[in-house]
Amino acid sequence: MKDEDLRDLNLPGYEIPPELAGQLAITTLDRVYNFGRRSSIWPMMFGLACCAIEMICAQAGRYDMARFGMEVMRPSPRQSDVMIVAGTVTKKMMPAIVRLYNQMAEPKYVVAMGACASGGGPFKEGYNVVAGIDKYLPVDVYIPGCPPTPQALVAGMIKLQEKIDKQSIKHVRWYDGKKEDSVAVAIPYLGPDLIDPRRIPEIKAKSMELAQPPAPAAEA
């Protein structure tokens, strides 16, 4: 069954044809299931750059994402449903973000907020910036803008709600016994730009050596 058909079934007032009567219960369950999920999308509380300011603004009284049940910013990935990647993702930050994504429980969604997270923005060719998190993470909604206004963020979150509405409990990957329970993404290693903490003593020793040149040889 296609996504469009499922969405039609999820609408109220739809007459169930006799050949679909056996699926009546499951589609009704979909509506309840999706209503519960769409009305309690808890974002993870982290912001990376200026987009985070707009995200904070969208959470505050003026735009009030609590109207959609998105007000509970969770400090733990275990309790959050959506990851709003708000801001420039540096190569140093990317492994941490992927690790957080892996730690989130299903169902999990990723929203790329702003130009930097979606495609790298003005830093797309930078030596230290990831040109779009979709290289490493499955992104559900892209919100263009630099930064997106709070209303644009809310529009993007409504788009995510629409996506959730189209999902069916029969087909979601986290209840499908054949597939993996949870999507785990390999933690990327992003080349030599990333500082390897194991080399910190070495780097420190080298910088100390450069800062303090060795004493000149004793006078003969």
């Binding site: 892209y142 209303q151 529009a155 788009k159």
Partner: protein, 201 residues
């Protein structure tokens, strides 16, 4: 007497409490979902902070608000779209993030280039809405849009069909800018005609 300050403070609280109800009665039924209600709630005369009920009502954006660029076209008499863009490529050169790609159009009969874009793409996920393209365009062909509801499920690469919008739309969202540009255009044409007239006569 002790406790006077507490009573005074409670009086202020009570006054505020009563005021909120008076304000509610004064703005009964028109505080939300009406333009004057939004204007009042955003003004300095209002008391407290109010939520913009976003999908149902929208905060009006100022005229100079800019989001993503779009291309202007003049509507012909038969409904044809005469795009203003001449594919000169100045916007693509001025773009700090290099998110504009233009393909120059060619005449299919002769194979010679024509001043029209065959393809025009803007990567909305790179664009940082600086508005340089609109500032640099000598033909007033590219302008910044007010529409911010552009979230998508895939990377947002806008092609020429998505970008093209009529001049009337531009006049609607930026009336002051439009009037100024039209005036300048008319003055320029008048000067050109005045220059041409003595040469002909």
């Amino acid at each position: 007497m002790n406790g006077k300050g507490i009573l005074k403070g409670m009086g202020v609280t009570l006054q505020r409490f009563v005021d909120t109800y008076l304000d509610d009665i004064r703005w009964w039924g028109k505080r939300y979902y009406t333009p004057e209600g939004i204007a009042h709630r955003s003004s300095t005369n209002t008391k407290g902070i109010f939520t913009i009920q976003y999908p149902e009502e929208k905060l009006p954006v100022p005229e100079e608000f800019r989001y993503k660029p779009f291309l202007l076209y003049e509507e012909g008499e038969k409904g044809e779209k005469n795009i203003r863009c001449t594919s000169c490529g100045i916007c693509a050169k001025a773009c700090p993030t290099q998110c504009i790609w233009i393909v120059r159009g060619t005449d299919p009969a002769t194979g010679r280039p024509v001043p029209q874009p065959a393809g025009f793409w803007i990567d909305a996920d790179i664009c940082m809405s600086c508005g340089f393209c609109a500032e640099f365009c000598p033909f007033d062909a590219i302008k910044m849009d007010h529409n911010y509801e552009v979230a998508s499920y895939t990377r947002n690469l806008m092609d020429i069909d998505e970008l093209m919008k009529p001049v009337s739309y531009y006049a609607g969202i930026r009336p002051l800018n439009y009037a100024r540009e039209e005036e300048a255009r008319k003055a320029k044409e008048a000067a050109k005609a005045a220059k041409a007239a003595p040469a002909a006569g």
